[in-house]
């Protein structure tokens, strides 16, 4: 574990009324719920003394869609589309996380090729997620160029999703047990193209911001949090790593063959906006590295596991083969027997540990499904991070924490 600052080493501003403030000069300001700078529907009721924030009251839940309740009424394979809508910047990671949770429950044996394919898709999703977050930090500091430039690249990742599953944003990619089909030749061509052209464009973006004097002045010291406080608040993912703790589910509890790949976990020291930005930048490079390794060493084999009770048979067999017809019916109607039991499975999502706590009583749908949504847990720390800062820093802090309304409100 890297060295990080003690909590006491932080010179957190003590906020009180200054002597110059006279009664009535404290203003109440609504940051959100619908404001372009919040990048989602969040309300923060700020007490401000001039530009300085004295307190913040958060309201969340504007787009709550009762996912955990919905899941109690749906067969297992119909829950995947719900997970799309958690962190919709990296839907494939959510989808895969859910598939792996169910596979853990039923004890499915997943071919190595599927695991490598999943790694490629999940790392593409991580790149897309971090690209949005980092380019939006640029936008909030007044640098729109990087954002518009990088969206071209995110478009390429979305085209790759399209090649795999036909969808772009809410991907619903893969199935319990593997993928719908193998990667197409067109996918390989596009992936090759992406891996060849992306690093150059990404480096250009990096050179626009990462050592830019104005950008650094704006982001360094904006919305800091110490490692100790971050742990107490349940931070995970890039936001925690920016504070100096190298926790990553991919390394701690490897899933989907992550132990086969050689990659580094970047950490920051100050836990401020600049560190969060830099950690995500480096993670994008590491993700590219993982994709290249997985793509080069892709094992031969099947793109799906041999679990006919859970994996839909090919359509032509359904029409001509009794067994396939039965399986098809049972899967579509959600009538496959599922073992009773409870599992917790977590994956490293775009925002850190995304967990699925699943209790099955053997029925057609989960008895209880709880999502560990990293955004929901770490967004609590937001007031503590912005008190004493300026309003413009508060906006930056929110975008650099990558608070996604879908994941926050479930």
């Amino acid at each position: 574990m890297s060295t990080f600052k003690e909590d006491s080493a932080y010179d957190m501003p003590r906020v009180g009324l200054s002597n110059e403030t006279i009664d009535g000069d404290i203003a109440t300001l609504n940051l959100g719920p619908t404001h372009p700078a919040t990048h989602g529907i969040f309300q923060n009721i700020l007490q401000v003394d001039g530009e300085k924030i004295l307190s913040s009251e958060q309201t969340v839940g504007y787009i709550h869609r009762a996912f955990e309740k919905l899941a109690e009424r749906r067969p297992y394979n119909q829950i995947t589309p719900i997970t799309d809508r958690l962190n919709y910047c990296s839907s494939p990671i959510n989808n895969m996380g859910w598939h792996m949770t169910v596979e853990k429950l039923i004890g499915a044996d997943i071919p190595k090729r599927v695991q490598y394919m999943r790694v490629i898709v999940m790392e593409l999703a991580r790149i897309a997620d971090h690209l949005i977050c980092n380019s939006v930090i640029g936008v909030d500091t007044g640098a729109l160029t990087g954002f518009t430039y990088l969206f071209q690249e995110r478009e390429k990742i979305y085209e790759l999703y399209e090649e795999i599953c036909g969808a772009r944003l809410t991907t619903n990619v893969g199935r319990i047990g593997g993928f719908e089909r193998d990667f197409s030749p067109e996918f390989h061509r596009k992936l090759n193209d992406f891996l060849r052209t992306f690093p150059k464009i990404f480096n250009e973006f990096n050179s626009l911001l990462s050592r830019n004097r104005i950008f650094m002045d704006r982001t360094r010291g904006a919305g800091p949090i110490s490692a100790e406080r971050a742990l107490n608040y349940g931070f995970v993912g890039p936001n925690l790593r920016a504070a100096g703790v190298d926790y990553d589910v991919r390394v701690m509890n490897p899933y989907s063959s992550y132990e086969d790949f050689d990659f580094a976990i970047p950490v920051g020291t100050d836990g401020d906006t600049y560190d969060r930005f830099m950690v995500r930048q480096e993670e994008i490079r590491q993700s590219l590295n993982i994709i290249e390794q997985a793509w080069k060493n892709m094992p031969e084999g099947s793109y799906k596991a041999d679990i006919p009770e859970f994996y839909l048979p090919p359509k032509e067999e359904v029409y001509n083969n009794m067994e396939a017809l039965i399986y098809h019916f049972k899967i579509v109607m959600g009538e496959t027997p599922i073992p009773a039991g409870e599992v917790y499975h977590s994956v490293e999502g775009g925002n850190g540990e995304l967990g699925f706590y699943l209790i099955s009583d053997g029925g057609r749908s989960p008895y209880r499904l709880q999502f560990r949504r990293p955004c929901f847990i770490y967004y609590q720390a937001y007031p503590e991070m912005i008190i004493g800062q300026t309003i413009s820093d508060a906006v930056l802090t929110m975008s650099s924490m990558n608070v996604i309304a879908g994941e926050l409100d479930a």
Partner: protein, 169 residues
Amino acid sequence: MESKLTNEAVAERIKAQFGASVLAVEMPYDMLTMEIAAESVHDVIAWMKTDSVLEIGFLTLLGGVHYPNDKNREFAMVYHLHSWSNNFRIRLKAFLPAENPTIATLTDLYDGANWMERETYDFFGIQFEGHPNLVRILNEDSMDYFPMRKEFHLEDATREDKDDRYFGR
């Protein structure tokens, strides 16, 4: 990364400290799951955080489960904790009666518990003693029911096409 602790060793260590409060020990899918008497949950979690061997100091997840047919055990509180130094995960459960589903808050140990407990209150109506601000979080304030309870139906309760009885269950 392999865990440095075994389920059995941790279970023994917790039993040695809180013998009478440990009501059951299970290991579904290799995850140590202990049922703890509701009044001791806070103490156990506080002790695990400071214990030099376990060092279980990260609260991963907490939430409720509703079992309407279990008399006096209608609500379960489930805590997932993680020791990063030992890479060890543990699940604690406490059962609460429906008349008075109350349990001590963890907000004094983990700030992250604040919203998770509010969410559990919001959806299950479980009360957390000592919580600084136990109000609804995702649902509307004027709601007068707790939607994740099993008696609250997601869709039209008269609908029968998804009824388990028709499929031999």
